[in-house]
Symmetry: D3
Subunit: 135 residues, 6 copies
């Protein structure tokens, strides 16, 4: 069940086909998962989202691929995006995340959530030592 | 402004003193930041929170210290914990996070948040390929 | 699967019947969706929730019906309420939201989420120009 | 700094005065805190919000006053509403919440947040035993 | 569908068996629900999470068992953890929560959420009267 | 207090100057608010964020400018981004939002939040009528 109608033959639209071709090329396999198939209901939005995700997640940057996917999973858990947790956990595993690293990621995320709630409940003043800005 | 009264002389309580001593020993300096000074209003809660945070964040584990702090920052941003964002960004910098890595972390977190909201809005079905469980 | 037991014959309770009749009258059709059928487990809560939703969403006010439903969808996405996203996206479409407007709504929501996370990560000081209050 | 301009002389509007009088009568003292002073920028919204909060929080119901305020604090922490955490923690204390109960509340809230994130990360299937509904 | 593979024969691991035995002993029945069966993918994480949840939720403390489960449900709703809402609503009912108390809990939680969003939108200044700390 | 150091003389960097010039040109005035001054700590991130926000919010699209800012405020409230609530409420007012429309926006947002929490607590099954997808 979704809120948009995915096109039946998405690649008949050349803009969609170009994105799907790029997805397959970047990943080196033929799997185009549902997020892209459903986003194809609006080719311009599909292009924009794919480009921005690809540029940070699928290209070499300062942070290694596995770590980037683990950070992505962490945010997706906190935002309760079920699809994103599933797809980026799978991506992190494809980038080499072991079960032991997965368990440690979950431990960090859930410990952070715990202190996030604790401090939102206590609201201590910020220590001056934390200020990066001159103001 | 906070919701609890931090004790005026926290280290007069031996349980608080033991935690503060451990904080200083683990960090190798004398700075005890406000979260611990305010949590000292309940020594048992202070002990429990410090122990669980220390065990995953301050001890060597599979994931390196800098990455752990960056994941902690990511979760704290998503949960809108201002104190936590400040304290763990400072910790990540102390563990070696450069400005360029900080910018990349923010880019990953904000891109993840973008697709989290997009997919919570579209709600595409989960791809079978993402299922780790046999069920 | 739900956490409450919806009554088998909800309209045998006159308070529930009155709400269901009002739902049908306001909408001009016979469809009473699950939120109301499940809320009927507590007739007083049903009455209160229906009244407050109806007064702002189903009566003419300053903001037009389609826009009100689009704002409702935006909040429901951010709060990860799957049922609400589905029901209010359907309502927005019933009020005339086109696929292109839906795509633009999703673009605004996801761009806002992106900068929400970015600024919760940076925490710049508020500009004085934004203050509406004299304080 | 706020996003609305509170009226300078709010009680010159009889609808605002009626609400403020009711607040003082219900509480048995003269303190009208900022949330109501700022909501007075729109008397109809002020009336509606005060009425719905008063009916559940300030009138005797099944759940005792102290517990109701503690639940309110729990939700406000999870939603990162700083003003609400402060005002309802103060209200819970006024209703008799001790420091030890406050510490236990924070422990429950932060433990719940921890498992919330853990399970949003693992996404185990729901046990049939949890289904209240016949469907 | 889950992100981890639950072990097929979890109790063949003595650490997992010890936790499952403790779960059954504490609850006085044989039901081990999915959260623990899936967490068994990492015995150390299983031990730590069970211990911390058990110590606050399953042992006698200042706040009674039913109220503790209701607070847990409130936080789980706000954090959109579906599994947690289901499991802790079931636990609250097992501790004696009636349908009328459940309805009142939902009314408090949803009223709190309403004012949380209202005040995050208005951002009135904090009243000095709310400050617990001398600073 | 912020987590990054804003450059002292940001426009000495030609990439930053180009963005600031574009901000001033698009807005038709000289005010460059703090979000851009702080994002200037990383010129590439500044360029990317400005471009994507500008394209949807500052260019004519299907949805009118005032409504777009009101949707942006709604999401920012739900995500507890204080800076964003302030800056986009100011922008909505600059686009013509009246106090009465602001009050109605807050009423819609807070009513949505209320039912979001109510339904996350009840978790009724989705009605088939809401499915846009053939699956």
């Amino acid at each position: 069940m979704s809120t948009v109608v995915p096109p039946e033959d998405p690649e008949s639209d050349p803009r969609v086909k170009a994105v799907f071709d790029d997805i397959r090329a970047v990943r080196g396999n033929d799997f185009v998962n549902n997020v892209w198939r459903y986003l194809a209901f609006d080719p311009r939005l599909l292009e924009e989202v794919w480009t921005s995700v690809r540029d940070v997640m699928a290209k070499p940057t300062l942070i290694d691929f596995k770590t980037k996917e683990m950070i992505y999973v962490a945010v997706s858990i906190a935002n309760s995006c079920h699809y994103c947790v599933h797809s980026h956990t799978a991506a992190a595993k494809a980038r080499g995340m072991t079960d032991a690293e997965h368990a440690e990621l979950l431990q960090i995320v859930s410990t952070a959530a715990r202190t996030n709630h604790l401090l939102n409940g206590i609201q201590p003043p910020l220590d001056d030592a934390f200020n990066a800005s001159p103001e």
